[in-house]
Symmetry: C2
């Protein structure tokens, strides 16, 4: 618990870290330093003097520690959508005879959107299957599989090792979307046989709104894949301005254009805060928080019209907990009036994220009590909370 | 001349705006507001309350004014590299039988790198030609043409209308890279028949290091092209979380993932500063600056070992001026010691950018005088200026 390191108003129970993590105070300080002492005072010279050139790779090294990867296997670049496209196209290039891109149905929309547009551009076919049915759809025509570790709605945490093993039988790599796990869950990419992954910088990582994403390419895959969007920042020596592309070593070859430095500066501050905060304890705290919330709600669920969507078993759950209720959007607004910030997703889902960095089990219990109060009072039916 | 609106040290002659524009003071103020009052105090609620959702499209509207486009034809997104890839893939999808991607040889490397990797992914062939030879290589197998408006080395400004007309004869759209013209040159995309373009946010636009780029898709092309990296931010209603992709209206359909808001905030401040500064006068001032520099150097060029690379005629030149000299890198360092900031590009090129927003003709003459002093004194041979 390092809540004091974040800019969070006193008394606010912030359960939306699965959507946008709060601002680390260090991010503010670093941004000011960058604008004043680097961009302001030294302008273009800061690319080398402040090592903006090495920033994305350096942050990748920190994130690698959080996801069980080697430092040169993770690069910060672009968005989850763009990185996902790169990996799909790169794998399809080495599986030219395979026609299917197998995608988890009902996953975060961008993943399915990107898969569909990539399939159209590359002459492939998207096959959709629910996460429990992915393994059954694997075959020797499967070029690549796309799924998330923790589901953005249910918080169901998938068994990464099992699916990787099954996909390996048909030699189809899985691209894991870690957006709803990194920074809150234990992720063991190498130990669990993962070859490819993407993830978000602005949820539990708290890197700031729209913070750049990351891309994981295992050393084995680095030997096989080429970046389909080979921009100059993925080249070995950008300032040589060579006409022939020579990729950088490691996952850094999957960078494309110049990264947004101001946003990277905030992300770097955030991952440094996490790195200094016993990251091996994150998952334990997140699960304790989620369980405290679930246990406090459970006896009253049915009576109050709530349906729990998330797994009750901690080991199968990410760091948020989701419920369905016919008035979900209004309930979330009524909770906000009580300084409890969750979110709703159409049509009837509420999510409460229990980021281990700034939420305690006591906070989770206080949040559950607030939810029960709101439901029992019926105040959420007040017209000021209508959509 | 609005130098006072930028954070530039007194006495510094900053001629590197073609590489990284200096910090607008407004960008600092807006970043602090965003970190404190929005991300800090209101967290995830700022997506709607501070209209982060509309930010990229809003900035696109400002940039549209600078490049002679309609507001809904320009979207801010990703990097030049990624946007270029999107346009190449989108055009190739509607020209399935055409095999050639015609690319300007010796242009900014990222353009050729992206063209080559896109060609590999899409099964096309890259054909390279010098900019003067592009028109001659057009044929009915040309799917798309990629070239820059102002060349990053020579500053040669291409006749946009002429090439668009010639390419139209074989029905091949030209993708214009405006990186070295936007914010300093008059660009008339619509009037000159341009259908597609990309451009950089951090050079003359002064949007901050690695600021997001922009993409221009004419209304005519919007009806034909689909974004090959169809992320959720390019969808009509991202927070509906629909499983089927419905594109946003206008060039905004070419957004992909969540944009880096902190970097966008700085870029928005920068384009507002430019919009308030008589943007129709930019090109005139830039040309006057460049001509003042060229005229001051011309009588001494040969004697001092300088070879001018940029066109002497203002109408054929962008906002920077380039020279070759065997000791270019050392000369640039020696100039820096005199508070004159230019840059060098291997092996022997020096560039001096005369951004109209914070450089006057008097500054350009003072810079030329400094260059002549450095060359005449031979101080650049001092070992402290060695590479």
């Amino acid at each position: 618990m390092i809540r004091s390191l974040f800019d969070l108003p006193d008394g606010l129970l912030y359960f939306a870290g699965h959507s946008l993590g709060p601002a680390p105070k260090l991010a503010r300080a670093r941004l000011l330093e960058t604008v004043d002492a680097h961009w302001g005072a030294r302008q273009v010279r800061s690319w080398t003097e402040a090592d903006w050139m090495g920033l994305a790779e350096r942050i990748g090294g920190h994130i690698a520690d959080l996801v069980g990867a080697r430092a040169n296997e993770v690069m910060v670049a672009d968005s989850v959508s763009v990185n996902l496209f790169k990996l799909i196209a790169a794998v399809c290039a080495i599986r030219p005879k395979r026609s299917e891109i197998l995608v988890e149905a009902d996953d975060f929309p961008t993943d399915a959107y990107v898969a569909a547009s990539a399939a159209a551009a590359l002459g492939k076919t998207v096959v959709l299957a629910p996460r429990q049915g992915l393994a059954a759809r694997l075959n020797h025509d499967t070029a690549v599989v796309i799924t998330s570790h923790v589901h953005y709605r249910s918080a169901h945490a998938q068994n990464m090792q099992a699916l990787n093993s099954q996909a390996a039988l048909v030699d189809a790599p899985v691209i894991w979307d870690l957006s709803h796990s990194v920074g809150a869950m234990g992720v063991e990419l190498a130990a669990h046989g993962a070859q490819l992954a993407v993830g978000c910088g602005y949820k539990y990582l708290s890197g700031g709104p729209g913070a750049p994403a990351f891309i994981y390419v295992s050393q084995d895959m680095q030997r096989q894949l080429r970046n389909p969007i080979a921009g100059w920042m993925g080249s070995a020596d950008p300032f040589a301005f060579r006409q022939n592309y020579v990729p950088r070593a490691g996952a850094a070859a999957f960078a494309s254009g110049t990264p947004p430095i101001l946003s990277l500066i905030a992300l770097e501050a955030a991952v440094e805060v996490i790195a200094a905060a016993a990251p091996d304890k994150l998952q334990e705290q997140a699960r304790e928080n989620g369980q405290a919330f679930i246990d406090a709600i459970a006896p009253h669920e049915a009576q109050l019209g709530l349906t729990r969507v998330s797994p009750i078993i901690s080991a199968e759950r990410g760091a948020h907990v989701a419920y369905r209720h016919a008035f979900a959007p209004a309930i979330v607004k009524a909770l906000e009036a009580e300084s409890v910030i969750g979110d709703s997703r159409p049509p009837d889902l509420m999510r409460f994220g229990f980021a281990p960095l700034y939420v305690t089990a006591a906070d989770a219990r206080a949040g559950a009590a607030a939810l029960l109060r709101v439901l029992r009072s019926g105040i959420y039916r007040d017209k000021r909370f209508a959509a």
